[in-house]
């Protein structure tokens, strides 16, 4: 890479690389197991101790005031070092931007430091049984309780990532049933061990309880845990949906590192199939394209531009790349491709990561929804009247 990084940026890269080489635990047990969740929390503590947990945040909250360029550099180094996926991701990537943008000073003080070091792990609670990518169809209710100064939540959330081992959750509830679908939603924060909450883990395709159903039975939440304005939840939530599909969840470093491991695998296996060889090259080209695309985005954002619907283009690309890359790896493994755990190549890491990749085209808004967004908002194709508002 010689795209003209400054000396300061190169120094930042070197510092991150050195720290990670010294401290990274490598691959940890799945964060969606009790043992794994503990190990991940320990790792988050170590990251926070080195001030590498949230490099782009203000120093006051444990960050380094790093620029967007430096953040992407850190992410590249993080994944190249073989470090684990972050258990704090929901909090740091999805919730924190909203707390910074819409939270009260008290909420910032109360919640940000605790998520930085993994003391409080957050579960996202967007989806409901009847509302998948269609957030506007949310039915879980919040009713006013003036006496206690807060709200009473009832209903059910599902596909709540991290919920089985998390401490707190965040999500949207319908606080004004008379309002239009998009309006009348309010954004709430709540402890998962609150009275009236039942968390029922759901085994995922990979066997781990990565997500859960959450049942709310008269759960009281004080006014202090309303995030943003009452009835303003939709707008508040949408202000980060672009982040999720765009930069925050899938930094390019992850794909570059995976493509690098794929090349090693191809090299070790000495596979002669021209098709597989081409697939390996295409996986690397895809990862490089994603890296360069990201530098373009970073440049634009630093120049004052915004992500907008480009987050959907981004998500369509990385989710497909992720699946293709891991399918290629499994093909390279031949008959060993079905093995998991002990006795499998890399203890089954390729299969585990493959199963993880299969969720990509489904979550954060399915790829069908993303294609509609690209077609309508970027290409300007007619919306048609066969669908309600969607996305």
């Amino acid at each position: 890479m010689s795209l003209g990084f400054t000396e300061a940026e190169e120094a930042f890269r070197a510092e991150a690389r050195a720290w990670l080489a010294e401290n990274s635990p490598g691959r940890l047990p799945s964060m969606d197991t009790e043992e794994g969740a503990r190990a991940h929390r320990d790792w988050e503590k170590a990251l926070a101790g080195g001030r590498w947990s949230v490099v782009a945040w203000p120093e006051q909250y444990g960050g380094r005031d790093a620029s967007l360029v430096e953040w992407v550099i850190f992410e590249e180094e993080y994944y190249l070092s073989g470090s684990p996926t972050r258990i704090t991701q929901n909090g740091i990537s999805l919730l924190a931007p909203i707390i910074f943008g819409h939270g009260t000073p008290e909420q910032q003080e109360r919640y940000l430091p605790a998520m930085v070091d993994g003391t409080e792990v957050w579960a996202q609670a967007w989806s409901e049984p009847e509302a998948g990518s269609d957030l506007a169809g949310i039915r879980s209710r919040a009713e006013r309780d003036d006496e206690r100064g807060g709200w009473v939540l009832n209903g059910q959330k599902t596909w709540s990532s991290r919920a089985p081992f998390a401490d707190r959750g965040f999500g949207l509830f319908r606080s004004d049933p008379a309002a239009e679908r998009h309006r009348g939603l309010t954004y709430f924060l709540f402890p998962l061990d609150a009275e009236g909450i039942t968390v029922r883990p759901i085994a995922q395709l990979d066997g781990d309880a990565g997500f859960a159903e959450i049942f709310f039975d008269d759960v009281f939440v004080p006014d202090a845990d309303v995030l943003g304005g009452v009835g303003d939840g939709w707008r508040v939530a949408m202000s980060t949906a672009g982040n999720e599909r765009g930069l925050s969840l899938r930094a390019p470093g992850r794909f570059l590192a995976a493509a690098d491991r794929l090349l090693d695998l191809w090299h070790e296996r000495g596979e002669e199939s021209p098709q597989l060889r081409d697939d390996v090259v295409d996986a690397w080209i895809g990862a490089r394209a994603y890296q360069l695309y990201t530098w373009g985005t970073v440049d634009r954002l630093q120049g004052g531009g915004d992500m907008g619907a480009d987050g959907s283009v981004n998500k369509l690309f990385w989710s497909q790349l992720d699946v293709d890359l891991h399918e290629t790896a499994l093909d390279l493994l031949g008959p060993e491709q079905e093995l998991r755990g002990e006795g499998a190549v890399s203890n089954g890491a390729w299969v585990d990561d493959y199963l993880f990749s299969l969720a990509g085209p489904i979550y954060a808004g399915t790829n069908e929804i993303q294609r509609n967004i690209v077609a309508e908002r970027i290409l300007g194709l007619p919306r048609g009247d066969n669908r309600r508002s969607g996305a």
């Binding site: 394209a289 360069l292 373009g296 509609n372 077609a375 970027i378």
Partner: protein, 327 residues
Amino acid sequence: MRFALTAEQRSFAEALDGLLGAAEVPAATRAWGAGDTAPGLRLWEQLAELGVPALVVPEALGGIGGTPLDVVVAFEALGRHGVPGPWVESVALAPSLLAGTEHEGVLADLAEGAARVTVAAPPQTPYALDVAAATHTYLLDADGLAAATSTRKLTSVDPSRHLHSVQAEGTAVAVDSTAVARGLDLAALACAASLVGAGERMLRESVAYVAQRRQFGRAIGEYQAVKHALADVRVALDFARPLVHGAAHELEADSEVAARDVSAAKVAATDAAHLASRTALQVHGAIGYTLEHDLSIFILRARALAGAWGTTSQHRARVLHHLTATR
């Protein structure tokens, strides 16, 4: 870190689009294919006034001394409008090949728009393009660079590309191997940029078409199957372009990963243009399958350029070679 076009490059692109948008390029391209080069050569002169042929000719030889990124900007525009002629050969390859040889004098004429150069470089690029419209034809092979003449005309899948087998006429002169490699890389990169441009044009035509073409009582662009196909083209082009721009940055920096990235760019641009052309054809239906529709210019150009200046399989092999050389 800066990864964006400069203000000058953006206004250069706008100027090219303005000129080419007003110039009835499809008619010139069809005439070129039928053997009437006059409108195409008028375009050449107009583009020369904007400095296109002079882009990477060194200032000392009458050129602009621009960067690979300038070349990329120009070729995306040429590709978007389907401009005919030996542009890759003249603008991207000739300056590297001719500088420092006895043929160096051609470059001043080239920069002015008075000379047009075509080159056959077997085995990768065995045929010379548009010999009849070129003022200088060369053969680049193991013996070096020699003036050449056509021995046989061949037919390209793209009617606007006249291909020729050539043989050396004069004595070959030695060319610095670094200069040859750089010239060939810039040619492949220019080709990749053309493919991105052609892909963008096909997407634009498709979007316009599906918004107005009605079937079963509504615009076909309202159907999700059509929307999703075109969204995938948007994604493919959006991720091919950074590879093209990135490779231009690496070539400019003379970085050790430049050749690798040029090849990656050629592969991704070819694939993206291919997806754009298949999708454009599909959404246009039978009208897209006619030569009378302008879409044919871009569909056939994209197919021809897929094999020009290195096929995707040659470029994939080169990427892999670079990636594994250090393992």
